[in-house]
Symmetry: C2
Subunit: 305 residues, 2 copies
């Protein structure tokens, strides 16, 4: 069976306008997870996911509580891996039961930490806004965004997913579904024989692509809130793409067609994946995962002929 | 190799008088995890652990933050499984590197949910204090404790560890170290093909014992803050025990020698384990794990002749 990595965007958990109760998140997970349960008949599946609103909420809670010990960002990322991993697993458990695969399939969440380079330029130039937005500046390290003043943290590149061996081994065993790389993974720096967590966030699509490379996955599917990658997105001349070659993707990326905060890293992730041995890459919406794999939806990103 | 379950008590993370910073927790983990890394040469190890202060801290933060969505207790338990699992794993990673086993061993944290019975009498009689203590009563469902008014939640019995199949499979593979049942596991109720998390906490020693039974573990070692089980604990006539038979254990438990909040569930856990096929059970301190396994420390609980 082919190995398929499905990266779930934030809308798999919280839809626009929702506050993000547990009930809402579990409801939202139903659509993508139902498809994934079905797909597990034909593919070895690894599920990865974001954690933006959840890690923001944990930060907000920490800031509000005066008399508790503050945990650094990497620990909060680990917490969201537990929180979201459990929600995905329990939904998956139910969907596998419904199609009678619950006895056959084994599944688990792999807490994932990811090596980053302390010399990564991102540490000198933090750009990723996280956590709550304030109407005025409340502390150092905040920048003004459209939502208000927010803390920004570095977003270094993932160099190595430490748990790749465990994930590869489970894929080889043949009946496992794995949840990994939550929130892009817990960023750590390695010095000699010590590991140090660092306050940063890793892009979950770039982490998924690195994992795909390390375990030799066949297919990377990035599920987000649009069905297709588009040129001139949101403009009258918007052009949805069914196919996109790597050379076109690079050209459009350079031209600024894909913004840094949204489609940009997804395009970069699929380019990285295809250039390091990946066979098939797809970007589509969380509703169309199965159709897109059948070639009936989404944008298929392909190697140049 | 024999399968060994080591249940780490709260003092593996936070010592008396500490506030529980990440640095303190990682330092405290060093002693037990170093021994466990060594033991992984000779045993298949499953590590389980508590989460009391951490889940309390998450509750306190939630209560302090007015404008965030509140997560139910079972989700906070899942968060602590991520948080503590990562701290245990990164420490284990370092200790395996130091003894040159990092290439050979695979390890991961298994988010664990545990079936409880909705008819469990604990739901009608919540007894487990969690979270912050207040000088006055601040909400319904609080009871007065020696520390102040605290919320109490039910502590139902673990009926089944859902992830037992995954854990057993990994143990069979031979080179895996698994972290599981954090905080006693995430309590869930199953109805038809749906799983519902419930606001409760499961005793981590009872959960470890249930897991031991389900995977057919050989040895259960409970690591806590005293080296030996004692009769008349804290009194002039305190009598530390090197050996304790099941029939004696039951008798002393009935006599009230082992308080419900501390040694009681540990004794019950080892009784359950030995009566369901377990071969060897030990209670000792986190410093003496290795010595106790060699029979040089701790209390060995044994089947009656």
């Amino acid at each position: 069976m082919k190995t398929l990595i499905i990266a779930l965007g934030g809308n798999a958990l919280i839809r626009l306008g929702e506050e993000g109760t547990v009930g809402q998140m579990l409801d939202n997970l139903r659509a993508p997870i139902r498809q994934i349960a079905e797909l597990s008949k034909d593919y070895q599946v690894v599920i990865t996911h974001g954690n933006g609103p959840m890690v923001g909420s944990l930060l907000l809670q920490q800031e509000a509580a005066l008399h508790v010990v503050k945990m650094p960002l990497q620990i909060l990322v680990a917490e969201t891996q537990g929180q979201i991993g459990f929600m995905i697993e329990s939904t998956l458990d139910e969907e596998l039961m419904k199609i009678g695969l619950d006895e056959e399939k084994l599944f688990l969440t792999i807490l994932t930490y990811v090596k980053v380079d302390p010399e990564d330029p991102a540490f000198k130039n933090p750009t990723k806004p996280i956590g709550p937005a304030y109407p005025v500046r409340t502390q150092l390290g905040q920048v003004k965004t459209t939502k208000g003043w927010r803390r920004v943290v570095p977003s270094p590149k993932p160099k190595k997913i430490y748990q790749w061996r465990e994930i590869k081994k489970l894929m080889e065993l043949g009946s496992w579904i794995v949840i990994a790389c939550g929130g892009g993974g817990i960023p750590v720096i390695k010095e000699e024989k010590r590991l140090y967590g660092v306050e940063a966030v890793i892009d979950k699509d770039l982490a998924s692509s690195k994992l795909a490379e390390q375990i030799g996955a066949d297919i990377l599917l990035i599920a987000t809130d649009v069905e297709k990658v588009a040129l001139n997105y949101g403009k009258p001349a918007q052009n949805d793409l069914e196919r996109l070659s790597i050379s076109e993707a690079k050209k459009y990326l350079e031209e600024g067609q894909f913004p840094a905060g949204s489609m940009g890293p997804k395009i970069q992730a699929v380019i990285n994946f295809l250039e390091t041995g990946g066979k098939k890459a797809i970007i589509t919406s969380i509703e169309k995962i199965k159709e897109a794999l059948e070639g009936k939806a989404g944008t298929q990103i392909i190697l140049d002929k």
